[in-house]
Assembly symmetry: C2
Homo-oligomer: 348 residues x 2
């Protein structure tokens, strides 16, 4: 709890002066005012985060948190849990979706085992195992309150390590067979949507098994009675280790003034948890893509985000966030490479 509390205390609002200097420059670049849309807003936000007119976002890391879920015994996922372990290793070998995009954009992929069921014996995977999978949320809490705090603190630890290594932009990703079930339970518990409204097929769950998934989520909420205003309670009762850890990455980014790119549905739910703990975290987050998973648009709306990519993607792993890295970096190029009307000798 000490690390979490100390990190939360470090978080301040964005640097208003830096933002206003950057906005003024952007409004004077040789283009119609406002015509570069979200790129302009991103450039201003990056200045607010870093306090610099020309921040760099060229040292990129995607932190992929992996964990398993006891609720899988209810048949809410199509794949076997062994896939969580295999993919957690594959992230270190450059073989998965996020790795492919990450290679193009020059991002490091950091694979972290927060609580995978099957044994992972691989020196390239960061071992932060809390426990080998959560408990079945249909029957009781996923984890203890202490474990929930620990999951967030793991995210903080890993993020701080990357920042110390010189990374100036982070993204969150995850791997965990079955994790759209706890995610949807969290969204329902905090934002009040019914499971019927927001439950999707995740990683291609056959449609005839969707009603069972909805029923499991409803029962999980009924049995556990998570307190919507207490993010740690919600995480402990119906969450997952990797979901808490991603929230920790976001909290660390806000505390150490490093922008964090949110991936899709599950990352957005972690963002909701982080922002419930400390609303100012939101100012340090950059959304990436509109996930195709059913609950994503509700989560995005609840948090008040407006993603830049519309790719119909729903892979997770941080793959959508990886695609956004270069767009975000383009905003810094816009601000640095373009000249102003005055410099060009053009009447605006």
């Amino acid at each position: 709890m000490k690390l979490l509390n100390e990190t939360l205390k470090k978080i301040t609002s964005l640097d208003e002066e830096a933002m206003s200097i950057t906005r003024e420059r952007i409004d004077n670049l040789i283009k119609p005012i406002g015509s570069m849309g979200k790129l302009e807003d991103i450039a201003v936000k990056l200045s607010g985060i870093t306090g610099e007119l020309h921040p760099k976002v060229d040292k990129k890391a995607i932190i992929v948190l992996a964990g398993d879920h006891g609720v899988c015994e209810e048949g809410i996922a199509k794949s076997d849990q062994i896939v969580t372990a295999m993919q957690t290793i594959n992230f270190t070998k450059g073989l998965t979706g996020v790795c492919a995009v990450g290679k193009l954009v020059g991002a490091d992929i950091i694979s972290v085992n927060v609580g995978v069921k099957h044994e992972i014996d691989n020196k390239d995977v960061i071992n932060k195992v809390i426990r080998r999978g959560t408990n079945n949320i249909k029957k009781g809490p996923a984890m203890s309150r202490e474990e929930a705090i620990r999951s967030i603190e793991i995210g903080i630890e890993v993020a701080i390590e990357q920042i110390k290594k010189g990374k100036n932009i982070l993204a969150t990703g995850e791997m965990g067979i079955g994790n759209t079930t706890p995610t949807t339970a969290i969204l329902s518990a905090i934002a009040g949507y019914t499971p019927e409204e927001i439950t999707g097929i995740g990683a291609n769950l056959p449609v005839e098994r969707l009603q069972n998934k909805i029923d499991v989520i409803k029962t999980a909420i009924k049995v556990n009675k998570p307190n919507p205003s207490d993010a740690i309670d919600v995480l402990a009762k119906v969450g997952g280790f990797e979901i808490g850890a991603m929230a920790g990455v976001m909290i660390a980014g806000a505390a150490y003034k490093v922008p964090v790119v949110i991936d899709g549905y599950i990352s957005t739910i972690s963002a909701i948890l982080a922002c419930t703990l400390e609303p100012k975290v939101k100012e340090y987050l950059l959304p990436s893509h509109k996930s195709h998973e059913k609950g994503a648009k509700y989560a995005t709306q609840y948090l008040g985000l407006n993603p830049m990519l519309d790719m119909d993607m729903r892979l997770g792993e941080g793959s959508g966030a990886a695609l956004a890295f270069n767009i975000i970096e383009s905003a810094t190029y816009m601000n640095k490479e373009m000249i102003t009307f005055a410099e060009a000798g053009i009447q605006p």
Copy 2:
């Protein structure tokens, strides 16, 4: 007319066999089927265009066509026409919006003068001037039928030159103060939308002058009576030199099997002209972003495209297309770097 006809004749449909081989590989990569959304469709399309399982799209050029418009004398644009000339030069110096993004993604910016009003004496601007600006479309045709054909052929010539230099992906961009007026006239003439529905403020035209712009477009269509099924007639009567030239770039891409990325509103109108001349051109086009300019969504719908970026941008120059280059390249990385379930030893 010879170059245009010969180029149109070269255009064939996509390579179905290559697409089916790529689709099969993608369906077996270690991810839920379909979960990488548009990236999967892009990878399949690139195989259809090139006939290769692993095509490269790493040699990028943004061809920026510049021209002026006689209709500016009607007060339909905020900026002076000197800006067209100054920006046409600035493209060669790395100073504009498309240059900033292009630098990040490693794209060459090719600046082409198709018909700028003010003299441009700069060896880095490709000089293909047809005439120093079109005629005022409110009073009569923008150009002769021969000039319209010539504008398209200029686009073909410049694109072929870039392809000969080894470029394996092209994008279109434009510069022309006032060019949302002829663009909107073309869209209204071909697709049947009323000017009231689709006319926007372009480069920040003051709102109180919008009705005049709408009236000018209505009069231009009434006076010229463009034939909606004859793209060259529409281009000649209510178009512009750079609008025709962008259509030429797209036609050359289709003929020489090189993908062409469409930028925003004005590029999409050029795509409508190109596809009216030869519907198969569409198979070689990749949309980039949803332009914030009012008519863009109508043009995109008419052509049946689904852009990948939602950036609220409306700059033109090819800046949105430049942002899409790395996303398109990511699709090739996905297909090449990821392994299949069989290779990974995972049960899908």
